[in-house]
């Protein structure tokens, strides 16, 4: 039965209407709706496909159940933390942050976990993960730009974990400070970061400004203990900073006065030397001298592939990644250790034999780096060395190039895979690499086990007899 109604007369009108509707929707979609949706309503802000979510995970990501699923996954991750199954946590962190990018706790915990928790048997962090941890932090900042937390956490990673490039710590703390929800006590850290970055004037300005604000807050409500505590802390910190600036010749230097009589002048020769022996397969022994008697010196020792990607002297380009890659360069080695100095010498064994995945030694050539910067030194050492190492020198290893604006101690020693693995010609003899100025110390006190007794002289005294 043909019950067709005749609409052929309307054909041109229908086609015209449909074409106009199509053009209209296409214009709206491409020019207005999609850009706005991307900016304000996108669930994963473009990460879902790029980060390889499976179709079912993507579906979850697009429904309203994301937060629920992400929360349940995070509870599951907690049990992995308890059992120490850290590898299993990584994919959960990634998935949860994609499903629910507003869950700041996961970003913060995940960043800390990736940066700190992957360690070898001797509790050395696997620093190959740090670019990924920072990338996660940056992603957390992008996903939560209205709150200070991820900016602060990312800054903290630079300040505490990387502990070398403080300009980045300053950058992130400044960003955190711009957010109105930043906790007052946490704001104080910005002045510390300025100080460590050599921006002492800015540190002082920040302290004054924070102190004024803390005093005002305390004046408004004296019954709150935290208000009083914060004001007192800032007052003490302000006093200490002013004393240090005077003591370290900062004001004199600014005013162009001679630094005669100040602690940082004349620069103190640290007399650095080092010898590294491969005492067993993958076991290195660091010995050397550092002519500073007060305790508190830690020299950074780095062993890495000679062709380590994005390498920098005594480190790497930590900020090299914008993608959270949970698979660091597994064929590369990057070991970093601190050599603690006591009684002007250091002596430490670094055993990498128990962690072949962290130290694969798959390349042929490696480089050992010994590094010291005054910016990371404790205050009592900085009293002598200054904020930028101006009170420190070394006739052999002073370097003013690798860290612009700073005087650091830096030495490199080449070493090969055969030496580290004690194979080939090194099978029966102990490979040794050392700085040209290294001299063996045969003194009884150092080798007899008495070295735990530490002399504690003051650097300020003119007595520099060792």
């Amino acid at each position: 039965m043909n019950m067709k109604n005749n609409t052929s007369a309307l054909k041109p009108i229908l086609i015209g209407v449909a074409a106009a509707c199509f053009a209209g929707q296409a214009f709206l979609q491409s020019q207005f709706i999609f850009p706005k949706w991307k900016q304000d309503f996108s669930p994963g802000r473009g990460k879902m496909v790029a980060n390889g979510l499976s179709p079912d995970q993507m579906l979850f990501a697009l429904t309203g159940f994301r937060e629920m699923v992400a929360g349940i996954l995070w509870v599951r991750a907690d049990s992995f933390f308890d059992s120490g199954n850290y590898d299993a946590i990584l994919p959960i962190i990634r998935l949860v942050t994609i499903l629910d990018p507003r869950q700041i706790d996961v970003y913060a915990t995940g960043m800390w976990h990736i940066g700190y928790n992957f360690t070898d048997e001797e509790q050395r962090s696997d620093r190959r993960y740090i670019p990924s941890a920072l990338a996660l932090g940056k992603e957390g900042c992008r996903s939560n730009p209205e709150t200070y937390e991820m900016f602060f956490e990312t800054g903290w990673m630079w300040y505490h974990k990387i502990d070398d490039d403080y300009s980045n710590a300053v950058k992130w703390f400044e960003e955190a400070q711009k957010r109105p929800d930043m906790l007052p006590a946490r704001k104080n850290l910005l002045s510390n970061a300025y100080e460590r970055n050599g921006q002492v004037d800015k540190s002082l300005d920040t302290l004054f400004s924070l102190y004024d604000s803390a005093r005002k807050t305390f004046g408004e409500d004296k019954s709150v203990f935290g208000n009083r505590q914060n004001r007192d802390t800032l007052e003490r910190k302000l006093d200490t900073t002013l004393v240090r600036m005077g003591q370290r010749g900062w004001f004199a230097s600014k005013e162009g006065r001679p630094l005669t009589g100040y602690d940082v002048n004349p620069p103190f020769d640290v007399n650095f030397s080092c010898k590294v022996s491969v005492v067993d397969r993958r076991v290195l022994k660091f010995e050397g001298t550092w002519g500073v008697k007060p305790v508190g010196t830690r020299i950074r020792a780095v062993l890495k592939d000679a062709d380590y990607p994005n390498a920098e002297p005594a480190g790497m380009l930590w900020d090299s990644s914008n993608d959270v890659n949970l698979d660091p360069p597994r064929d590369k080695t990057f070991m970093q250790e601190q050599l603690f100095v006591k009684n002007t010498r250091f002596n430490k064994k670094v055993d990498m034999s128990k962690d072949p995945t962290m130290y694969p030694f798959s390349g042929d050539k490696y480089v050992l780096e010994l590094y010291y910067n005054a910016r990371s030194a404790p205050p009592h050492i900085q009293d002598k060395f200054g904020w930028n190492g101006e009170g420190m020198t070394d006739k052999n290893w002073l370097n003013t190039e690798i860290r612009p604006g700073q005087r650091v101690i830096y030495a490199t020693l080449p070493i090969t895979k055969d030496m580290i693995l004690r194979r080939g010609e090194w099978r029966d003899k102990v490979p040794v690499v050392k700085t040209s100025n290294f001299k063996e110390d045969t003194s009884k006190s150092y080798n007899s086990g008495d070295s735990f007794v530490i002399d504690l002289p003051a650097l300020r005294s003119d007595d520099r007899k060792q």
Binding site: M1, N2, M3, K4, N5, T7, L14, V17, A18, C21, F22, G24, Q25, A26, L28, Q29, S30, F32, I33, F34, K36, W37, K38, D40, F41, S42, P43, G44, R45, G46, K47, M48, V49, A50, M58, L59, A61, L62, T63, G64, F65, R66, E67, M68, A70, G71, I72, W74, V75, D78, D100, R102, Q103, D105, E146, T147
Partner: protein
């Protein structure tokens, strides 16, 4: 006009009497009712989970209802031969199709209204009888209604020339694709490794296909605190977009249906 209204009214009555739709609706309402208790399973804030879960239930249930309601609409009329009694009267085919479509989205709207009312009640109750966050929450069901109207138009269009089962998967598939394509396109657009040809192709698809993701506005509602400039303008634009796309689909549906032997 009267013909369209009476067909639409009859369609609403039919839809409300269909048991399968009522069962889907009941399941949706049940999920909404138990949602406040499920927050404890998650590490996330209970309010966040509750908002996400309730909006998810409404969206998913509405999508199933929209598809089930519309895929059988025309085929059933043809199979039962009831269409002959209608089209033998002075009713144009386009009036019949539009009446059916309007009736189905009206029925869908009533069911969504019921679910929204249940959601509002339980949300208000969970928030210690505080009504302040409810208006913000209501934006999502309104946008979902336009989304589902678009989905219903897709299913009505397909129902003019394919069998119900095929239509079910076609419409469902297009809904998924249309929901996934915005994030997929965003990823392609932001990736520096994607060749320009692929980006251009993706742009064509993203501009031509019905984009259901435009109506997924729940993120800032679930995670409040985000400042959105010109929010009202966006809602207006996506509404116009939906109306235009529904217009295309209905015109195409009328065109196909008009040429079809029944």
């Amino acid at each position: 006009m009267r013909a369209i209204v009476s067909i639409a009214t009859t369609t609403v009555g039919e839809a409300i009497r269909r048991r399968v739709l009522l069962i889907i609706l009941l399941i949706g309402v049940l999920f909404l009712a138990v949602a406040p208790g499920l927050g404890v399973l998650s590490a996330r804030s209970e309010t966040t989970v509750l908002r996400g879960m309730m909006l998810g239930v409404i969206q998913l249930t509405s999508a199933v209802i929209a598809i089930v309601l519309t895929v059988y609409m025309l085929p059933n009329e043809i199979e039962r031969r009831t269409i002959y009694t209608i089209l033998s009267k002075p009713v144009m085919r386009w009036q019949f199709l539009i009446g059916k479509y309007l009736g189905s989205i009206l029925a869908l709207g009533l069911m969504m209204l019921l679910m929204t009312a249940v959601m509002v009640f339980f949300f208000w109750w969970q928030q210690n009888r505080d009504f302040s966050a409810v208006p913000d929450l209501l934006k999502a069901p309104v946008m979902y209604f336009i989304q589902m109207s678009l989905l219903a138009a897709v299913a009505v269009f397909f129902s003019t020339f394919v069998a119900p089962l095929v239509n079910f998967f076609l419409s469902g598939g297009l809904y998924l694709l249309g929901s996934l394509f915005n994030p997929f396109f965003q990823t392609l657009q932001e990736s520096q490794q994607t060749p320009p040809v692929a980006k251009a192709f993706a742009w064509v698809i993203n501009t031509a296909l019905p984009n259901f993701a435009n109506y997924n506005i729940q993120n800032p509602i679930i995670n409040p605190g985000q400042t959105i400039a010109n929010e009202g303008a966006y809602y207006f634009q996506v509404t116009v977009y939906g109306v235009l796309y529904i217009g295309i689909l209905l015109v195409a549906g009328i065109w196909v249906f008009d040429r079809r032997e029944v």
